[in-house]
Assembly symmetry: C2
Homo-oligomer: 249 residues x 2
């Protein structure tokens, strides 16, 4: 196993950082790493916003549900799906691009592009000994985030990425068994298999929590997921996305 | 610069592979690397389908626009957004999860989750000396892909990933200047700046092609993007996504 794969397999989210800012050079390396990711037909449909202003960081932390590590970290990035400059390209080149920019296809392309870039930045950061945590919590209120960061239409802040020198050492959480995630040639959809797999992974997760809480927490993955999905979080999203002129056609 | 960042920055898509299959161990390393990526609240909303059946590979290559490297590679993966098993969890736990599964928020979560996983697999592959190419072309006809791979509702094949021993050595394509992609504290949206940046990058891209084609190709990025976006590709996508019970609420 090489050091890159060691880095990748050792990933765990870090939510407590030392009070040490990333250098300009480190930030540039992370941005350049992000940009080196594959991009659909070179569309490069994302923008990365670094947030250093303490007031803005405090506002984002509040939006994300008072997550202190949104404020306290080495650097805070927000990854945005971005087709704004492609709209400008349409004007500049006299090309009819609106239908395309507003298609579900391009919404997907922009999300995937931004996520590939972010994961490159994450792996790069971890290879430098830094810790990272994705902050999906900013999606609690993207109207507010859009105001804080002053993003125009055709730009959607997707998630934050907190980076910094770790001040805690977490354990790697057990993922679903690879054999459940990886199918060959066809999707294994028969419900009996799925239920059996769920029960197997539920036991793993439950044991993981029991060991780490001296038996106080006995949660299964299924129970966690059911609770989360019953929650109906962020049901304003469709309206927001369409207001930003994405996913309309 | 460490070797992981060197790997990341050296990325270029490979479209010609040697006739050498990945070993089972290599495939497992890539799947485990994919799974080690961050996942929103541990939702793990993706499935990876390895396609080894020659007939299925030929069908996928045809769908992707006769891309030979979809057939000829060391291994071919299809990354799918997947909330199917979360539906089974809802049944199993007696939880009302439908609104959540059909929300735009969860559509985004599943896409981002799958993309983060895929990029981990890509970086891991490249660190092993393998080449990769994302195949967005499978989205030309996801109805057909769904039949080939027999995916149920709540599963969306997003892109392929061809992996293998490179039989060609491409150059790294120039990305947008980092200073254009990276903004600080607020999004720089004034159109004069955007246009000036576009012109700068247009020159870079144009020079890149001119040098490599002895002046025959003089394309700018803006012209490429305008042409692509005028194309209105994959406008069936919204209907397909909704048919698969995503992005409805």
């Amino acid at each position: 196993m090489n050091s890159t794969i060691e880095t990748i397999l050792a990933h765990k989210s870090v939510r407590k950082f030392k009070d040490e800012k990333l250098s300009g050079e480190q930030i540039e390396t992370l941005v350049k790493s992000a940009q080196a990711a594959s991009t659909s037909s070179m569309i490069q449909a994302y923008t990365i916003i670094g947030v250093t202003d303490p007031d803005k960081k405090a506002e984002l932390a509040a939006i994300a549900g008072n997550q202190s590590y949104v404020e306290k970290n080495g650097h805070f990035f927000v990854f945005c799906a971005d087709l704004y400059r492609h709209e400008v390209i349409g004007e500049k080149e006299g090309a009819e691009v609106t239908d395309s920019l507003e298609s579900t296809e391009k919404f997907m392309v922009a999300l995937i592009d931004a996520a590939l870039a972010a994961q490159n930045a994450s792996v790069a950061a971890e290879s430098m000994g830094l810790g990272i945590c994705y902050i999906g919590g900013i999606r609690n209120d993207l109207n507010a985030v859009s105001e804080v960061l002053q993003v125009p239409d055709r730009v959607i802040p997707l998630f934050g990425l907190a980076v910094g020198v770790p001040a805690e050492d977490n354990e790697v959480k057990p993922r679903r068994p690879s054999a459940h995630v990886y199918h060959e040639n066809t999707y294994r959809s028969d419900k009996e298999t799925v239920r059996r797999e769920l029960e197997e992974y539920d036991r793993t997760v439950s044991e993981y929590y029991q060991e780490r809480t001296s038996g106080r927490r006995t949660d299964t993955w299924s129970a966690q997921m059911a609770r989360m999905l019953e929650g109906k979080k962020r049901m304003y999203m469709k309206e927001f996305i369409e207001k930003k002129k994405y996913d309309l056609k």
